[in-house]
Symmetry: C2
Subunit: 282 residues, 2 copies
Amino acid sequence: MLYGKPVAEALDARTRAQVEELAVQGVAPTLAIIRVGEDPSDMTYERSVVKRAASLGMVTACYDLPELATTREVSTIIDDVNANPDIHGCLLFRPLPEHMDEGFLCDRLVPEKDVDGIGHKSLTGVFTGAHHGFPPATARACVELLDHYDIAIEGAHATVVGRSLVIGLPVAQLLLHRHATITQCHSRTADLARHMKAADIVICASGRARAYGADHFRDDRAQVVLDVGINFDAAGTLCGDVDLDAVEPQVRAITPVPRGIGSVTTSVILMHTAQAAARFSS
Amino acid sequence: MLYGKPVAEALDARTRAQVEELAVQGVAPTLAIIRVGEDPSDMTYERSVVKRAASLGMVTACYDLPELATTREVSTIIDDVNANPDIHGCLLFRPLPEHMDEGFLCDRLVPEKDVDGIGHKSLTGVFTGAHHGFPPATARACVELLDHYDIAIEGAHATVVGRSLVIGLPVAQLLLHRHATITQCHSRTADLARHMKAADIVICASGRARAYGADHFRDDRAQVVLDVGINFDAAGTLCGDVDLDAVEPQVRAITPVPRGIGSVTTSVILMHTAQAAARFSS
């Protein structure tokens, strides 16, 4: 079972060391968090980020806006974040309320502070290999988890199920840059199970609760499965895209949900923020 | 045999109709061509573009610079092209001489006039599906050829060999937007033949002369092969990435080199230029 916690701890140790180096230079890596509305899971997550940042010696600045805030109000805050030399990274909770122009706001943030890779410029960096901006944190979390558990990426065949800009497309590109062979599947893929069974590494990022079971994987205990889904089943229980109980016995390794990839994402956002601060101060 | 000429003719007919519509509005779609140095194949190609454009009622403006021109000189021309409302598209011959900053110059061109998809903003459009700029012409040519010959893209499994920003990556993304399942292979892919044999459509864009032979394809006459390679063999003969004579008998259809995809690319550049003019004048 590929738990996220040891990966997060290893990343946090690296980040803490970088924060300490920056402290010598008088720089305190600072993350702005912009939340619109009072979604309970956003609020829980915000508290956990603030707490984790503090434990690493980092600063957070929380901008909490009412549900009825305007695009212009959020835009003004992003402009302030862009202009403020003491803020190095920015996390914008999404989805934003429907009345807002989310695409416009994502692109408003400068790529140097876009630690969750939400803007087009950051995504371009992911696709072209150019090093401006940062990749989406969950995509990077998948790569960090594979590296942590010494799962070879170069030369491996990775099938990615899902093609969203948040995770499916960028994680495929990150693995491609690391010289994996990539198969990108999606809701209109014919014979999905064939593509999933063919791979060494399968990344499930389609957001369909427990949609992939024993029939979607080989039973030779050779495949590595990363489950990026965060879904709630009919009973309201948090679960991934994979039917964990059914699949775990037949594969080499699998990330659970919860306690898998999700636990790594926060560490990646904080790592990116420290890196942004280091780039800024150098 | 999937010849390019009928595809080019069909595209040209559509472009000619659009040019005639624009003429009514007093707009003459105009393509700037920037060539540095006197590479004979660039010069031959430039003449063919100028002639084809004229045959469609379009205007070309050729900027020919000496091999020793500076990045700044080319940049100034691109700035003029960007600012000139009578120029709608721009083709920049590459590779540029080594002393030039090619990446900088590609990004200098505004995406609205980037009819060969060389800038990062154009590539971002390809990846995100946003409709600013244009995809690289050869990538679009592959899709146009498949459509012309009624080869289904949605639901098909396409293996792309090669991951360059010029063709391999963008053609995979264009097919993905059309709901194909994509496998992206490259020089470090293990068991390349397996991935090629598994596909309904194989696009070879690795630039290796006749590298893929009978062993790389199934022999059930079911696969469609697009050969994007433009190589010269040891004897100096123009050839593709595929060993055409060996592979043709065992597949459903294949593009030859020459007279395949290459013949379509010029038509796509002119089509993009007419589209750019139409967007500009609307």
